[in-house]
Amino acid sequence: MVITLIVVSVCVFVAFSLIPGDPATRKLGTEATAEQVAALRAQMGLDAPLHVRYLTWITSFVKGDFGISYQTGDAVRSLLAKRIPVTFFLALIAFCMTVVIAIPVGILTAKYENSWPDRIVTVLNQIIMSVPPFFSGILLSTLFGLILRWFTPGAYVSYDTSFRAFLGYMLLPAFCVALPKAAMTIKLLRSSMIEEAGRDYTRTAYSRGNTIDGVMYGHILKNAMIPVVTFLGMALADLLAGSIVIEQLFSIPGISRTLITSISNRDYPVVMAVIMGIAATIVTVNLIVDLVYRAIDPRVSL
């Protein structure tokens, strides 16, 4: 786990050190003299060898000092501190929506396998998974925003101004993010339940006089959830990493938008901090998934 983070940090650092384009030159503009550039390079610590710079970077990083933005001159840490809650809530709402939609629908489609509602859901699922997220975002925001007028595109309210208005604005973007994830979860849960329904222990459960619901909820569901938990974990990591397209589309000032602006501004300290943050989030979520795993599956031990 820690190893993964170290691998990522080395990759990130080396990659961003090798990019052509010297930040000092950029900052000073093309008219700067060679001495000025050299002075600034020394000041920014850019003249030290690579591994020394990596060690300085990573130690201050671990201490919570993520460096200074090339663009604004602010500390990266305070810059990100404002953005993280935004993405976090977007991810949280989207994740809850995914679970709330997908689990019941998945169970019902498995229970009524091959019925008409099941077929319709299966077809809908395939279509939803084929729509690029920004396209469905555009369609939904047009539908709700410009035709039904339930939603005002672009009228983002910051969470520290009014938390309720913030949540209200987040609902639609979160739904756009949740939709494809829910479709995949439904599909996975359905096939997983159908697979478990063919297992020997299911037959045992029926032989004891269980009702169909008794077998479904008492025996199959828990077993069928094992692959779904893995998938939901990946989905959560994915959501927390930022829904790049959706944040851009709905002008939500979250992590991903910061990432994109910093990339186009070549503001590498910010980019590196965001990537490391995402990596850390993913690693943490994976750890949580492992814990959940151990809670539901006694065969897993670590």
Partner: protein
Amino acid sequence: MLRILDYIKKNQSPFFRIGLLLTLVITCAVLISLFYMPYSPTAMDRASRSLGISLRHPMGTDNFGRDIFCRVLYGTRVTLLIALGTVAIGTTAGILIGALCGYFGGLLDEIVMRINDALFAFPSILLALVFVSLMGTGNLQLVLSLGIAFIPSFSRIVRGEFLRARSMDYVLNARLQGASHLRIMFVHILPNIRGVLLSSVMIGFNNAVLAEAGLSFLGIGTQPPFDSLGQMLSDARINIMSEPRYMLGPGIVLILLVLGFSLLGEGLRTKT
């Protein structure tokens, strides 16, 4: 060739059939458009700006007087080319890495898979974004970025299959007969896992098209004059209320394209 036809006949899955039909129709349309295109996708015609749907212009024209149908055909071509390049890079590198790691295991496997897992954890569109930021924008860079972003997921699948195949009887048998490692890997194992490979190639196509569309929307997609479907879609966003038509054509074709690939992948997986 006959065997492929035979396989198609035998695969009864409706997913597979619809997927095959969709991909075939779209591919054929694109192939025909290579030789015959009623209007140039870039020719602007002031006289026929923003025309509705008609026989002459099956999807109408845009506000520059370009025929949308022809633009969609052209965009599909670009999208397919990018997806092809992406999958080609992802598959080739993925098979090599996955095969070596899965077959030999050991320290090499340990190290490579660590890096792989770290990369795999990132959403592929984010990876592509980072690579684009490292390499700069441009069509070649786009394909490269997407391709590299798809290597981890591919090598994971291939590695898993090789790992499983390694201890199978037919591999042990080949080894007893003195086949070299390379021969076992590529003559014995590779053909045996082609079902899984083919299915993941299809899923890869599907993801590549989606990722490219996402990047286009973010403004780091294809560069003009090579407008992909995703590019067209994000361009049409400005006019969504006045001219929703601009979006419908490329949108539907893009969805059908992705649907076709995903259904094909699905059908191949359930049947093999």
